[in-house]
């Protein structure tokens, strides 16, 4: 029986037992990962998973139950458990119902037959290429961890308002973390990645780049505390945006007084160089689906346009509270999405790039630091936007080029200062998890080093 049929069954059962409204979310996944550990491939894992989560509403109170056993009996049991949970709840007057049925857009470039049918041996070949390239780059490099992963996911939503949706997608990704070791010195982990919906990943490039970064991190110096021009790479941007900017754009946080962006629609909050969309339909995007995890159509939402705040991210509940439309940002957590109730999450959080090459972005810097990764971004304050992260490793920008490596550098500030101080974006757009962005240059960033401020 297919996912939709189980979904229909759950919805019928819940309605027949007294639910006023109900929804079933179903997911089925198959993934395969080859893992690199300490310079060798030593493990392959495969996961096959499927399940269903039911939401049932009685008198504006809703309950949820899930099972990973897709049988008639267990699906029925889950529907009844959801009703039991709804009866234990309290009515929420803000509840306006599940999304209604609408025409769904098509997700483009998100399913590749070749990925779906990739043999395990082929994934091991890709991992082995990546590993060999990294290790032949330089004798001081150790490929500490890495992986090549392939997955196929199918999702379905059925609800009592007529939503009846199904979509599937494939993903491939490769990742390598390397360190370089010399007598008395170990570099921080330097990593590179590549991920696509199709088989376009380039494991050799990833292996070489991780190794190159690790070697260039040897011989790190201390930095003098002060104000610098900083160029942030995609991984650093993901850490900072995910923990200090994206939370403030979520409608639930805005409505609950947890966002500094409350009441700022139409207000200039960033450099006019900055434009950000949440693009749930980005072609080939890693988070592109035809509909969100409660069956609302995916869409492209303007969040910041030329520095001006234009909108927030909504699911149907928070949209209902304000009488606006959902932006299609309901999302269920991994690895078993059917076991979770939806929360608001960005899809492909896309920063509009410029036409300036990364080299030119760097060449205009007099006294600066290039920061590809940050550590500790999850300890940021998502309400105030204040962050204080370690940039390990980081490199000096000297004479407009990436120069000597640095150690023990902390970047501190607030996301709002950072957004206002953007002085340039590069053209090198790429996706890392939910962020699609180019390198971004920031002026007057506060860096705390192990050497005190002079003068």
């Amino acid at each position: 029986m297919n996912l939709l049929a189980y979904g229909e069954k759950a919805v019928r059962r819940a309605l027949a037992s007294g639910a006023q409204e109900t929804e079933a979310f179903l997911a089925k996944g198959r993934c395969f990962v080859v893992e690199i550990e300490r310079g060798q491939i030593a493990r392959s894992s495969s996961m096959v998973d499927e399940g269903l989560g039911v939401r049932a509403v009685i008198g504006k109170a809703w309950g949820f139950a899930y099972t990973n056993k897709l049988t008639d009996e267990e699906v029925e049991k889950a529907a009844l458990a959801a009703l039991r949970a709804a009866r234990a709840g309290k009515p929420d007057e803000a509840w306006k119902g599940f999304p209604a049925s609408r025409k769904l857009p098509k997700a483009k470039g998100t399913y590749d037959e070749e990925v779906a049918g990739l043999p395990a041996e082929e994934a091991v070949n890709l991992a082995s290429k990546m590993l060999r390239t990294a290790q032949s780059f330089d004798g001081r490099v150790l490929a500490v961890e890495g992986s090549v992963g392939v997955s196929l996911v199918e999702k379905a939503v059925v609800n009592s308002l007529g939503v009846h949706a199904c979509d599937r997608g494939t993903r491939t990704e490769c990742f390598l973390g390397a360190i370089a070791k010399e007598v008395g010195e170990t570099t921080p982990l330097c990593f590179e990645f590549d991920a696509h919906c199709s088989l376009r990943i380039n494991p050799e490039k990833v292996g070489e780049e991780a190794a190159r970064l690790a070697v260039s991190a040897l011989g790190a110096e201390d930095l003098e505390t002060g104000s610098y021009t900083v160029v942030l790479g995609q991984s650093a941007l993901l850490g900072i945006f995910y923990h200090s900017l994206i939370p403030s754009l979520k409608a639930d946080n805005v409505q609950r007084g947890k966002s500094k962006l409350k009441g700022k629609i139409g207000v200039n909050i960033a450099s006019e160089l900055l434009t950000i969309h949440d693009d749930g339909l980005r072609e080939g995007g890693l988070h592109t689906w035809s509909f969100d995890d409660e069956g609302h159509p995916s869409q492209r939402t303007t969040l910041i346009e030329k520095g001006v705040l234009k909108g927030y991210l909504y699911d149907s509940y928070t949209a209902g509270k304000e009488g606006v439309e959902s932006t299609g940002n309901a999302w269920r957590s991994h690895p078993a999405p059917y076991a979770w109730t939806p929360i608001i999450e960005a899809t492909n959080f896309t920063v509009t790039p410029s036409t300036i090459s990364p080299e030119r972005l760097l060449s205009e810097v007099k006294k600066g630091v290039f920061i590809p990764y940050v550590q500790g971004a999850h300890s940021s304050n998502p309400e105030s936007g204040e962050f204080s992260v370690v940039a390990a490793p980081a490199w000096k920008i000297e004479e407009g080029q990436v120069g000597r490596p640095l150690k023990g550098v902390m970047l501190t500030g607030t996301i709002y200062e950072l957004l206002r101080n953007i002085s340039g974006l590069a053209s090198n757009l790429r996706q890392l998890a939910l962020l699609v962005a180019p390198w971004i240059r920031i002026e007057d960033a506060r860096l705390v080093g192990r050497r005190g401020e002079e003068g």
Binding site: R43, V124, V448
Partner: protein, 460 residues
């Protein structure tokens, strides 16, 4: 379940695998989320599944699946075996497991009050009661989210070496996260309760302590100043010490990361801190959130000394890393669920207490900081760590003065350990969840300590 597990082991053995293990799980979870006085989500779930891990020609193949019919199990075991062969193609250092005595045991949990005997209504009311306390204690509070979770289940471990373990599991957990604002200042505070005891964990005085801690932290942050970044002496409270020990030292003492190049392996048998410093990872503390009887390789949990009187004496091991280094496994191999392979995880990790009072720790500081509660932390293989601070104060001439906010501490683990000047006699364990690709329930903790130099990132 037992005959299915045995069948999977037999299929793997017949194919010629060197080692086969099958883990089975039956789980029942309930969770409640309340937001600002309303039970937003009440959830219940049932899960069942298997993880089959096969070692052949020195490499691993792993497969997890939901279905428990014989046909699917046979296919899965065959596929796991094939995955192992495929992975072994270019193996240079074949995996060799440390030997252990195969255990046959049945571990039964008998909590005073099982979460399965508590109604969903009572669980929602527990969360709502904390919400009410927080809103009534601090008028500036804008939002309060309470998450409650219990997981009750049975875990099975069967291996081709003859291990036959059936082990009850029970976890209860609760987290409060409140935010407040006044003018342009935003404050937030969170606190967790977690145990492997029953629902009786949530007694009134425990909940009152949670509410009062969260409200105090919010009040202090609202009037806090922005600190100046730089290098200062500091007293770290038990909560910060816990996360420092866990993040900055503990991860580096996980044998997989040690073998991957973390700084600890070279330091085995060497002094890395003062005599006052002893660090343990203990899976046997009754009721603690990171405790269990057997790990997910069937190895009994133990109290593992990592640092004794300043000297590195051990690492945390799986059977694989113990085999590689020729030592005994320590019972640290854990898997989030049947969906994952076991990897080395901490249990309850702590710095042992010393003999100083808080006053004695603060006394020699002319100007510095008292870092009382954290927001989170992270460490890198090279020993660089970062800990965000939720509650911190200035210390002037040995006295705790004005609160500061948005502070974070970073540094190098080994340099910081060497700078531990004094260790307090207070002691507490803090429950939490640790992410290393998979989530594990853990505790970390210790006493308060004084460090001569801490690199602080602030904004002044």
């Amino acid at each position: 379940m037992e005959d299915i597990l045995l069948y999977a082991v037999h299929v793997g053995e017949k194919l010629g695998a060197d080692f086969v293990e099958v883990r089975g799980q039956e789980l029942h979870k309930t969770s409640v989320t309340t937001k600002d006085g309303k039970p937003e989500h009440i959830r219940e779930g049932f899960e069942e599944g298997l993880g089959i891990r096969v070692l052949a020609r020195g490499a691993w193949g792993f497969l997890s699946l939901r279905k428990t019919d014989r046909e699917s199990i046979r296919e899965a075991a065959e596929k796991a075996y094939k995955l192992a062969l495929t992975s072994s193609r270019e193996i240079k250092e074949p995996v060799k497991l440390a030997e252990v005595k195969p255990v046959r045991d049945r571990v039964v949990k008998k909590p005073k009050l099982s979460p399965t005997d508590v109604s969903l209504e009572q669980k929602a009311e527990l969360a709502l009661s904390i919400d009410r306390d927080i809103f009534s204690l601090v008028p500036q509070v804008k939002s309060c989210t309470v998450n409650y979770l219990d997981v009750v289940g049975v875990n099975y471990y069967f291996s081709s070496e003859g291990a036959r373990i059936q082990q009850d599991s029970l976890h209860v957990w609760l987290r409060v996260y409140a935010t407040a604002s006044e003018g342009e200042v935003f404050a937030s505070a969170s606190e967790e309760v977690g145990s492997t005891k029953g629902f009786e964990t949530f007694e009134r005085q425990v909940l009152e302590k949670v509410s009062s801690r969260v409200s105090r932290r919010i009040r202090e942050q609202l009037k806090a100043e922005l600190p100046k970044g730089g290098v200062y002496p500091a007293v770290l409270g038990s909560n910060v010490v816990g996360v420092f020990i866990h993040e900055a030292f503990g991860h580096l003492a996980e044998a997989d990361l040690a073998l991957a190049g973390s700084v600890t392996l070279d330091k085995m048998g060497k002094r890395i801190a003062s005599e006052a410093t002893s660090i343990f990872d203990d899976g046997t503390l009754p009721g603690a959130f990171g405790s269990f009887r057997y790990d997910d390789e069937g190895v009994p949990a133990q109290r593992t000394p990592l640092v004794e009187k300043g000297v590195v004496v051990g690492l945390m091991h799986s059977r694989e890393t113990a085999g590689r280094l020729g030592v005994q496994p320590t019972g640290n191999a854990r898997a989030e669920s049947f969906r994952f392979t076991p990897i080395i995880r901490m249990r309850n990790t702590y710095l042992a207490p010393g003999d100083q009072s808080l006053e004695e720790l603060l006394e020699p500081i002319r100007f510095g900081y008292y870092l009382k509660t954290l927001r989170g932390g992270q460490a890198n293989l090279d020993g660089t760590f970062q800990v965000g601070i939720q509650e911190g104060y200035k210390v002037i001439r040995g006295e705790v003065c004005e609160p500061v906010r948005n502070l974070s501490m970073s540094g190098h683990t080994l340099q910081t350990l060497l700078k531990i000047e004094a260790v307090g006699k207070d002691f507490q364990l803090w429950p939490g969840r640790c992410g290393k690709g998979q989530t594990a329930f853990i505790c970390d903790g210790g006493p308060s300590i004084r460090v001569g130099e801490a690199q602080l990132g602030g904004r002044g």
